[in-house]
């Protein structure tokens, strides 16, 4: 179990490190998300107070950028590249198949907290289209039939 106290301690260090920089908010939020995995309300309050800005500013930025998550993610994040090159080579069918196999819509997490399914912006690995990533692993030239075996690899 991660110690929340330690996490907040780390967050305060990050805030102090960046406090006097111009435009410090986003770097702080990015590091905060690395520490906590997402940005729950108490983390946003800590950031707002630490940088001397309002909570609404922090929340405004958190909801504007797709990188920031307000909900915790699953153990494995499966991201299907929806860039144009992948799309014309059948990424939609891959995403549909994943959605069907996991029983969640893109953006959602499975009930057991194992997988989060994401439709992501272009990963720039167009030579491998269609591409999906599971955490840091890249799977290229994916066909829908392969999906069950890819999921099975991470289930255990």
């Amino acid at each position: 179990m991660v110690d929340r106290k330690e996490q907040f301690e780390a967050l305060r260090n990050v805030i102090n490190k960046h406090k006097d920089e111009k435009g410090a908010l986003m770097p702080v939020m990015q590091e905060a998300q690395n520490i906590f995995g997402y940005l729950p309300q108490d983390v946003q309050i800590e950031i707002a107070e630490g940088l001397g800005i309002t909570l609404s500013e922090v929340y405004g930025v958190a909801t504007f950028y797709s990188q920031f998550a307000l909900q915790p993610k699953g153990e494995h994040v499966i991201s299907v590249c929806m860039g144009t090159a992948c799309y014309v080579k059948g990424a939609q069918a891959v995403l549909d198949k994943l959605s069907e196999s996991l029983g969640v819509a893109p953006g959602e997490t499975t009930a057991d907290g194992k997988f989060t399914l994401m439709a992501t912006r272009c990963l720039g690995a167009c030579g491998l289209a269609p591409v999906l990533t599971v955490g840091d692993d890249v799977h290229g030239r994916v066909i829908p039939d392969e999906i069950p075996s890819i999921i099975a690899k991470y289930e255990s």
Binding site: P27, Y65, V88, G124
Partner: protein, 597 residues
């Protein structure tokens, strides 16, 4: 310096890293050690070679042997055969599509490279991007040294102006003029920004330059700082590019250690510092005013222009902002002169342009060609044509702001103005090829879906207008299109183009307008005949089994909803009311007996 008899270059770009090039690096190191060759042969991890389709790519010099799709097991053979005994491993040598196998090819014989002119990509795949010495050995920082010691800031600007370089981010604004405007602004503080928020789906040249040759961007930013009178710069780079970010940081640290960045550069008293800022996944931040809002730590919403960044930009100070590829050209122009630069490309658009070739094309990858090169050269001579003998239908340039160019215009020269004339645009250089199986209405819908998602919501035409357009397109592809929908789309498109606040909104309707212009018949088929000519839109097609069926029952067994019936060895039949069009049967059929109608 140590001399090696051979150099093994392994591509460490994102494409090849994704297909496992890092494992090759370890395997080479281990194998060379085992054969006691590690003193004679050096292994270098470089940036992108460009031919991502063939990844992971390994090139052995001095022969220039080009090995493609190399696996860790193959490494043992390359070391034992090629490096130890001097015998090229023919089965791994890259063969172009039409080439007869067993014909060994080196880099310069390959069509993919033969037709290219590499300026911005000159060092990518040649040097180790994590070693500043290698960049310096290829004339790196020479332009900076010359400028700081022998030229005035105005002379630097004059060379860039004379070269005719235009912004490679897509707008095509003359770079020299931009620098001049910023230089003229009087202020105690000015900023230089490098826009590396490469958001166009399918475009990855800026990332490859940062990964393969990060110092060229740094050098150009310092040059720009000197020219306009700035001492601080930011690189705003996508967080999705971890390799690029890492190498940029290494490059910045090395440049500082060498006195090429930071205080008192090259002992001239000039100082310049560069910070890296990570984007957080918002397409609109590629727009310069939105990007600056983002660096300031706010929501990335654009602001109306004027005031232009050259007068009032980052933190309210005059700011010059260029994209990565534009910067990558700068040191070369100063080294070789404006005249040299103008010998490449066309009158209106001198120089070269990097394109990311992708989609239905044999050689996916990065290509750099002189401006004005016809599309045909890029798609057929360099790209190797369309796979599986399919028919070329269109090429999409300019990403979500661009348009689709039909096969009838394949001889159009690629440059800023000619692309705009035919309803598309250069954009950052994404080039997605589509074949007969791609539905153009669906492609327009795909891009609209993207812009609706990425619209920041600040101005009404973009926030609401693009959504209304998407609803109409959704209706058309699902077979519920109505008479007059095309006209409604056109009216909305022109209204949005005229009234949206920033470039994102003003260009969002382009994919729709260009597909209507060249593929109106496809729209009409969807609306009037409830038919998708490309057999792509699921709601407008059904599956049928033809007389080719041999009754092997493979399709009936794979069908998840039991929609296929028939006796063994007899022709099968699909119940279209039950069929969910998952295409499982098509992939299982050995006789190509199942078709979409």
């Amino acid at each position: 310096m140590k001399i090696y008899r051979s150099h093994v270059l392994i591509c460490g770009g994102t494409g090849c890293t994704s297909s496992g090039s890092v494992k090759l690096l370890d395997r080479f190191a281990q194998q060379l050690k085992e054969h006691k060759l590690d003193d004679e042969i050096s292994v270098v991890k470089t940036g992108c070679f460009g031919l991502c389709e063939a990844g992971p790519v390994v090139i052995v010099y001095p022969e220039g042997t080009f090995y493609s799709r190399v696996t860790p097991e193959d490494v043992d053979e390359i070391v034992a055969e090629h490096l130890l005994k001097g015998r090229i491993v023919r089965r791994l040598v890259y063969h172009e599509h039409s080439e007869v196998p067993n014909h060994s090819q080196s880099l310069n014989d390959i069509d993919f490279y033969k037709h290219q002119t590499r300026v911005a990509l000159r060092n990518c795949g040649v040097i180790d991007p994590e070693k500043i010495d290698e960049y310096i050995a290829f004339d790196g920082y020479k332009a900076l040294a010359t400028a700081l010691t022998e030229m005035t800031p105005q002379q630097v600007i004059d060379v860039i102006k004379e070269s005719g370089l235009r912004g490679r981010g897509g707008g095509g604004f003359p770079t020299g003029l931009k620098w001049q405007l910023c230089a003229k602004s009087v202020s105690d503080k000015k900023y230089v920004i490098c826009n590396a928020d490469e958001g166009d789906p399918g475009a990855f040249m800026d990332r490859s330059i940062l990964e393969g040759d990060p110092h060229s961007t740094l050098e150009a930013m310092v040059l720009c700082g000197y020219a306009i009178g700035s001492d601080e710069g930011y690189i705003y780079v996508r967080a999705e590019y971890p390799i690029a970010v890492k190498r940029l940081q290494i490059a910045i640290d090395q440049a500082k250690a060498y006195g090429l960045l930071g205080e008192n550069i090259l002992n001239t008293g000039f100082k310049f510092d560069i910070h890296i800022r990570l984007g957080a996944g918002a397409f609109v931040c590629g727009e310069e005013t939105a990007l600056m809002s983002s660096i300031e730590g706010r929501r990335g919403e654009p602001t109306p222009k004027p005031p232009f960044p050259a007068e009032c930009g980052l933190f309210g100070k005059p700011t010059n902002i260029n994209n990565v590829e534009t910067f990558a050209n700068i040191p070369q122009i100063l080294l070789n002169g404006a005249e040299w630069f103008r010998t490449m490309g066309s009158q209106r658009s001198p120089g070269t342009k990097v394109f990311a070739l992708g989609g239905k094309i044999n050689n996916t990858g990065l290509v750099e060609v002189p401006m004005g090169t016809p599309l045909r050269t890029v798609i057929y001579d360099i790209g190797g044509g369309i796979p599986k003998g399919k028919k070329f239908k269109a090429v999409q340039t300019g990403g979500p702001s661009g348009g689709c160019i039909p096969s009838s215009l394949i001889d159009v020269p690629i440059e800023y103005d000619s692309l705009v004339e035919i309803g598309s645009m250069m954009g950052s250089g994404g080039m997605i090829v589509m074949d007969e199986d791609n539905c153009m209405v669906d492609i327009a819908r795909f891009f609209l879906d993207f812009t609706v998602d990425e619209s920041c919501g600040k101005c009404t035409p973009c926030r609401i207008g693009t959504r209304r357009m998407l609803e109409i397109l959704d209706r058309i592809v699902s077979g519920k299109g109505e008479e007059g929908d095309i006209e409604k789309l056109e009216t909305l498109a022109h209204a949005i183009k005229d009234t949206a606040l920033c470039g994102l909104g003003q260009t969002a309707p382009n994919p729709v307008l260009s597909t209507i212009r060249y593929f109106r018949d496809e729209y009409e088929a969807h609306i009037k005949d409830k038919r998708c000519p490309a057999h792509h839109c699921k709601d407008l097609l059904h599956l049928e089994i033809t007389d080719k069926c041999r009754g092997c029952t493979a399709c009936a067994r794979v069908c998840p909803v039991g929609a296929i019936s028939g006796e063994p060895r007899g022709k099968h039949h699909i119940d279209i009311d039950k069929c969910i069009k998952c295409d499982s049967c098509i992939s299982k059929c050995h006789f190509d007996a199942i078709i979409k109608v």
